[in-house]
Symmetry: C2
């Protein structure tokens, strides 16, 4: 395989410049700290194709959309993650010539993401009329100080020259994906002096009553260059510096940038705070900031790292994914969530999808701890009112969690998704179940969880209809997890998870007790109705084949394996019309199998096997969320080749640009999939009904190990050739199950791997 980025356990590197790969590399080289982040854009001018991207957690804009006929219940806007000011910008001139890699010959180039320290480094030599100029940049979004972005930039001409650097902040930016080239920001102020410069911008008015935001950025530079000028224009500020250097001597500048928003601070003080923080950071110096930042990353890696020996390709994949997940969400701000592109691109809009509950929660439970995971649950709990409003807008009772949101209200607007992909409600409920199973703490279920479970159960109870002929409850008009079908009847997954939600709400109510139920208006009649619906839910199956049926007319399709698709037609979503995709049997991501994954404790292996054998061959895995679920199931079923194949697709999806769309940004939420594939798949970790493992070692790996937090403990699992070592690194002894045998983990447990 021809890989664009070099393979290395801790680094992701480009060794030469390819302008066709600029957007791809910008995505991959993204850095962030959970509060903000940016793509791997160049600091200096670049007139070639690029997607500038700087994003601040929680700041968004409701972009108007219109198409065809509006129908009742449609959301009126599409919530967009918006590109914030250019913070890193430098205009660099050498003897009056602007450095611009698109206009100069590039003599050498390297761009490197150091994942261990969270630092983006670049070195580049450009040919100029008089000789060559070498530049070197290092930058990071501080994991130690959440408002800080720092960069150091060095220019070294091969000839005697005058180097001029104009360091700037520019709030005059757009989103590439705005529907009509609208500008989302208005400029509110700017200042510049020798010591510091700053700008303030705010989101423009919107007619939807969506919140508006203000943000300021301040910069202060450390340099020995000569100060020349400070400039301000609307939404723009800069400081210019020059230096005459002899051949081979550096001109260098450190630019410290701080970003403040009215999400956290007083709107009136943003500008001065941003400027003040930037000056303080500059005074403390780039190296101090870098040291603190790198130390914070080192701390994170202790718990989070997954080590793989013998396969650097796999090792790099999982580290890259963990690096990006840790850069996107830290659990510090309970109003944030895990956006599908994190801080790496514009596409998709919205901050919160069911991805969080379905794929990310287990990872954050294990490597972030129960407090971080609880933040994710509380996020939905606080948005319960919005979910009730979403349901009401459809004329339905209860709570419908949004498909895409910033605030709890639906902000995406395709009816086949927002109205129909209602199975997402199931994942919200399942996350509560999973949290309780993992932590053993039922307080959350009784308190914050119950109203959420009740809202969800009420929604399902209102959304089903009773079929008169069969006496069964049905759910028509849904889109299942497989978005390559829309508006189907009785999607097995949706019906199954709905029944499960109704049952789990009853379980939670029993746990919470009569008084708590009465408090929140949950009656026995309502519970009895939930029981009746769950007990009589129609769950389509094909008894002849012994499988669950994806939806009512699925078996009437032309059923072909994905291997029947010509290579030139893959991925089908880039080659086939939507019409053809909808009518085909091909499955975008786990659908029936998603149910068998979520509710794995309720189904036996042979049921899983029959369904896996039937559905996986028709699955094209064109959702980045697909391979991981299949990897976990395949490992459980002993389909090791398949499990490893699926692992590779999830682990290196972006590094190898497998879906040909990484240029738009990284697939952040699905990055959790590679961790799931290793931990739940290869290591067979299960957390429902106690902690258990049944690990195996993938072909070609010599060893893999990972740590995780569990009920106040730190555990480490190391899987080697023929044996598994499970260590209790911190905390009390614990009963666990390994290869279906119960054991007590005291200090270290070494188990021989059963022969296959």
């Amino acid at each position: 395989m021809d890989r664009y980025f070099s393979v290395d356990p801790w680094q992701v590197s480009e060794r030469a410049f390819d302008k066709e790969k600029m957007r791809l590399a910008e995505s991959v080289m993204s850095t962030g700290n959970g509060a903000m982040g940016l793509r791997g854009n160049f600091e200096e001018d670049y007139s070639g194709d690029t997607l500038p991207g700087t994003y601040i957690g929680g700041i968004w804009f409701p972009d108007k959309t219109r198409v065809g006929w509006w129908k009742i219940g449609y959301p009126v806007y599409f919530g967009k993650v918006i590109n914030f000011a250019n913070l890193i910008g430098l205009h660099v001139l050498v003897n009056g010539v602007t450095l611009d890699a698109a206009r100069c010959e590039i003599l050498d180039f390297s761009r490197n993401l150091d994942m261990r320290r969270g630092v983006l480094e670049r070195e580049m030599t450009l040919r100029l009329p008089e000789g060559s100029v070498r530049i070197r940049s290092e930058r990071f979004v501080s994991m130690a100080q959440k408002d800080l972005l720092a960069l150091r930039y060095t220019v070294t001409p091969s000839f005697d020259a005058c180097v001029a650097i104009e360091a700037y902040l520019d709030g005059n930016v757009r989103n590439e994906d705005s529907n009509y080239n609208e500008v989302f920001w208005e400029t509110l102020g700017e200042e510049a002096s020798r010591g510091a410069a700053c700008i303030q911008v705010g989101t423009v008015e919107n007619p939807y009553g969506a919140p508006r935001f203000r943000a300021a950025a301040g910069m202060s530079c450390q340099t020995e260059m000569r100060f020349e000028a400070a400039v301000t224009r609307g939404g723009f500020c800069s400081q210019s510096w020059t230096q005459n250097v002899l051949s081979g001597v550096n001109a260098a500048i450190c630019k410290m940038i701080c970003v403040e928003t009215d999400r956290d601070g007083n709107a009136a003080l943003l500008l001065s705070t941003a400027r003040g923080h930037a000056c303080a950071a500059a005074a403390r110096g780039f190296d101090t900031a870098l040291f603190e930042h790198a130390a914070a990353w080192a701390d994170k890696w202790i718990t989070a790292d997954v080590s793989i020996e013998g396969d650097d390709v796999a090792q790099q994949g999982i580290r890259f994914n963990l690096f990006q997940l840790l850069s996107t969400y830290t659990g510090d701000d309970d109003r944030l969530n895990i956006g599908p592109k994190g801080f790496t691109g514009e596409k998709y809009g919205g901050a919160t999808y069911w991805d969080t509950e379905a794929y990310c929660l287990p990872v954050y439970l294990a490597i972030g701890g129960s407090q971080v995971a609880r933040q994710l649950l509380l996020y939905r709990c606080r948005q319960l009112d919005g979910a009730y409003r979403n349901a009401a807008r459809l004329g339905l009772p209860g709570a419908l969690y949004p498909m895409v949101t910033f605030t709890g209200e639906e902000c995406h607007n395709e009816w086949e998704i927002t109205f129909e992909e209602i199975h997402r409600n199931g994942a919200i409920a399942h996350a509560i179940f999973e949290y309780a199973a993992y932590t053993g703490d039922e307080t959350y279920v009784r308190q914050e969880g119950l109203p959420v479970l009740l809202g969800i159960a009420r929604f399902w109870a209102g959304r089903v209809h009773r079929n008169q002929r069969s006496g069964r409850y049905m759910i028509h008009g849904v889109t299942g997890p497989n978005e390559y079908e829309n508006n189907v009847s009785n999607n097995w997954y949706t019906n199954r998870i709905a029944a499960w939600c109704l049952d789990y709400c009853r379980e939670a109510a029993a746990l919470a007790g009569a008084e708590r139920c009465a408090d929140i208006g949950l009656t026995l009649e309502e519970l009895e109705n939930f029981r009746d619906i769950a007990a009589h839910m129609y769950l389509p199956e094909d008894k002849e084949l012994g499988i669950f049926v994806q939806h009512d007319t699925f078996m009437d399709k032309e059923l072909l394996p994905a291997s029947a698709i010509a290579a030139k037609d893959r991925p089908i979503n880039q080659h086939w019309s939507w019409d053809r995709i909808l009518r085909s049997c091909y499955i975008k991501q786990a659908d029936v199998l998603q149910g068998l994954y979520f509710l794995g404790h309720l189904y036996d292996t042979e049921t899983k096997r029959r369904n896996f054998d039937f559905y996986e061959p028709m699955t094209v895995h064109e959702s980045s969320l697909s391979p991981c679920v299949h990897a976990v199931l395949a490992a459980e079923l002993g389909y090791y080749d398949k499990a490893e194949d699926m692992y590779r697709r999830t682990a290196r999806l972006d590094l190898d640009n497998i879906n040909h769309d990484t240029q738009d940004g990284l697939h952040i939420t699905s990055m959790s999939g590679s961790w799931l594939a290793i931990v739940q798949g290869f290591a067979g970790m299960r957390t429902v009904g106690g902690l258990s493992f049944s690990p195996y070692l993938p072909a070609g790996w010599n060893r893999y190990s990972f740590r995780f937090l569990y009920r106040g403990r730190v555990l480490k699992v190391a899987v080697e050739n023929a044996r598994v070592v499970i260590s209790l690194e911190k905390g009390e002894p614990l009963a666990i199950t390994v290869y279906r045998k119960n054991a007590v983990l005291d200090n270290e447990l070494i188990c021989a791997m059963p022969s296959a």
Copy 2:
């Protein structure tokens, strides 16, 4: 019933001004001549709520749309009918005060559409500080000279006053429904002098390669007022006139406007042609133009009129509909079609829907004659290449006629409509069948018709799939005529009409002969494949109930009659979420019944009755195209009350604003429905396998009669109490069937009505 417009056989009148009804009245008072038309806007200033609308046949703009995720095959624009320059505008000042009914007290008001002559008249008295001012306007879009719009305007103050009139043309207009308030026109020139004034505009650039248009308007005024000034600004021209009048004396002006476009003329000469034609018209005078116009209308009414005695409400309804149909399409320009809003509003976009073939063709065959009807068929024949491209865009063979178009290529962009509402192809084929059956002329089928039928048959043959379990051909992923369901499997109507198309293509091929087939590349193998698919098409039915099933899972729905819907929830499309509508059993318009209407000659009465009895009660008739089909079927089944009820809904849909949306424009294509209800319903006219009738007289009517053209003849049918008189007014004797009895129509045939 409280009717806003006065009931009168030949007039539609407002007797008082209600600003809340301004848009409604503007729609209803629309006038046109097949080439252009305009809403009933005021000539003088009106600062209240109004929808200005002037439209020119064949001129449109591809408006960009974006929503959520674009998928392969989606059209990239939505073709919009665009509002052209304000042609009628006058600024009228009396002693320096601008006349504006929104700012003055209105002392009396009447606006009247004279349908016999096609003239819009208005009288209004406004109170001004010094007294009252009476204005009177008359205008028409000439049916005799297709580029001419003429108006006469009179101002009569009750006091001595200076009257100033500035007559203008203003190209600075917008569409209310543009997606982002874009301007569709750019101004290209303007001139003004004492004798004439003119402007030229052109559609702005578009990135889709869609055609651009230029249009010019010229005006010349006849008046005895004193010329004051000629003014031009970008896209605007005017001539101002003043007159000092004594109390009770008129100031009057006639404004003659001519419109030229580069669809018909040399772009370089448009401005001078428009000015020249306007001057010539002014020289001939308003009264001459009016005389010629009224004579042209009189001619049309001779053939087209349907006379109803004893029910002025019904009479006014059918006349209004015929008036608007005749104003919209004349068959003069074979590049035009019958837009769903004609020249009366912006909504819907596109010029051509399947409405033309499904609902309008029979009317134009009968009252326009076979040449006019043939133009409608040729329109599709010429767009066959576009239809092939539409199918190719979906990855399918053959021809897919567009859901909405100007050029033959799809210009609407909701996947559930454009990709899925493919039954429209059936109506295109059926129109050829209907034309041949009506005219008895099979030349068209053999020549122009066959390639169209072949393209359509190829599409169906590529779009079906063979279900392995049953060996039947199925069609998944469609939207039937009932747009209150989307993306269903095996919609009976779609499957049935597809099978019929395949059979009819074979029939046409047999008729055309081997040589013609070889010419167009139609092979015996292909015909055999068509036969096989048609013979093994899956047609869902419920044998227990003896009905055809709308689609695979329809019978699983909660089946309720429309009478179960609360009155406050009607129409459901204005009160229920799209989600709820999709899941409900409620039917927007005839679906299974549409098939039994189109293919009525293939089904017996009892089959029709069982299906009607099952489906009609669930039908909410929220498409303007719904009631007529039900009226025809109900009449055939002897459900006279239902037939008459349906007639009333189709006949007065706009006059009584039954769907609460006439303010957006008239439901032009569905206006044919009232003619169908009378002629095919009450009079039972059938044209497949010869001409037949079985008329009855609706309750409350004393008599009704209509003329029609048939195979070189003019016939008249008059239905009276207990008898029917069928007259041959022109042409050779003819065999016809009345009440299932064969007869020869020589001069006049009088039949007694069978007692019920």
